[in-house]
Subunit: 220 residues, 2 copies
DNA sequence: AATCTTTTTGAGTATTTACTTTAAGCGCGT
DNA sequence: ACGCGCTTAAAGTAAATACTCAAAAAGATT
């Protein structure tokens, strides 16, 4: 691996573990056994590292979305989609734990964040429309924006919420599935009678996955 | 006003405006025209100031809740309650913009935060139960915890969400009413037919308030 | 007025932190 | 072997920052 990539990955790791604020460029260099000068050969400054991390996040997001199997079932689509979003937020959780502060410090980062968010809004909205057209959800036109917004707040801040709840927040697969269960809870009141059975089946499936993940976390 | 209180209030103001991270103890002292030594006579360190701010927040919260008019109408109750919560979060928004980071840095603060959150969960749950018993909301027992959680995530992170959305986030009354509208959106699918009319009336009322606030913000 | 306590000053310090600079090492084509 | 460009090292530095301390000022008490 190139030094530049090693710096990026060590930074993600250290930031997630100890918080971006508590990790200096010297820490990162020491962790990798390289000199600070070397780090600054590859990056102009710390902000530059964070921007590079965000670029990696954005690349991940796009490539994962493209890999998203083009299923016939719109319910599966949105669940797969939410799964990806939760996993990416988990991988870059230092960023989301600190979202307003990191964005306000770095206007160009905020711009790129906004662009990607706009894509996400479009995607979520169109998925909800698909669900409505497939008569899986019964959403009125004027409810669509609010529901999109609530879905986004829940996904974006789910891990932050967990971190405020527990003393030693363990961000594992079980935590992500718990977040997915909140997505089910949000959609549940809108599910049509005809789709209820499938919906509850999918919900039960993810509930099982959550419990399996919780158990394997305990034994591990 | 005593110096200690002046320090607390200047800190809240500066933290909200420029972020806790960008404000040093020397800044606070300079802003007040006092010496750093004086500041450190009243507070052991910066964390101590943040803890004192949180104490003020907690006091505000408790006194506001006690002042909450003991209305017969459970719908009014939860709306008044949410209004208070949004206003307090706005007043201490630097804290919520940074919640996971600030809490993880300060275990004793996290403990106090958790205690207060436990009270809030109890209160929100009991309000939802009242709404169910008054046949305003049609919530099943097993849906209650999820809905409580979603209400809490939405209120806690509403301002953080807004800050990530706009380039120059203006946190005014209109922004808070928009948050309240999301609470309506969350509850709406559960509203019973018999209560629908009252619910939509209240919703329309707050929508008007939001628009008035938005207009007066433009003219101001 | 004298004494004691509380508050405030302001110059200072130890440490941290982001970042620089100069020079050396390394791979590689010729 | 030599030169060239890319990469790395090591030793820094300037600025910021949280915090201290001895002494002065202000206020209270008798």
């Amino acid at each position: 691996m190139k030094t530049r990539d090693k710096i990026i990955h060590a930074s993600i790791e250290l930031f997630n573990e100890q918080g971006e604020r508590n990790i200096t460029t010297n820490h990162i260099a020491a962790h990798l056994g390289i000199s600070p000068g070397n780090l600054y050969y590859h990056f102009r400054n710390k902000e530059d590292i964070i921007s590079a991390i965000y670029a990696e996040y954005a690349d991940d997001l796009i490539s994962q979305f493209q890999r998203l199997s083009d299923t016939e079932n719109p319910l599966d689509s949105i669940l797969q989609y939410m799964d990806i979003v939760f996993q990416l937020i988990s991988k870059f959780r230092f960023f989301y734990s600190n979202l307003p502060v990191l964005l306000s410090k770095n206007p160009s980062l905020k711009k790129r964040y906004s662009e990607i968010q706009r894509e996400i809004i479009k995607k979520v909205s169109s998925m909800l429309v698909s669900l409505k057209e497939a008569e899986i959800l019964n959403i009125r036109e004027e409810e669509l924006d609010d529901l999109t917004c609530l879905l986004r707040i829940t996904t974006t801040f789910w891990l932050s919420y967990l971190q405020t709840q527990h003393d030693e927040p363990k961000i594992d697969d079980a935590a992500l599935y718990q977040g997915l269960m909140k997505i089910f809870a949000l959609l549940s009141p809108y599910v049509t009678d005809s789709a209820r059975e499938d919906f509850e089946k999918a919900r039960g499936h993810y509930r099982e996955l959550e419990q399996q993940a919780a158990e394997s976390a305990v034994t591990a």
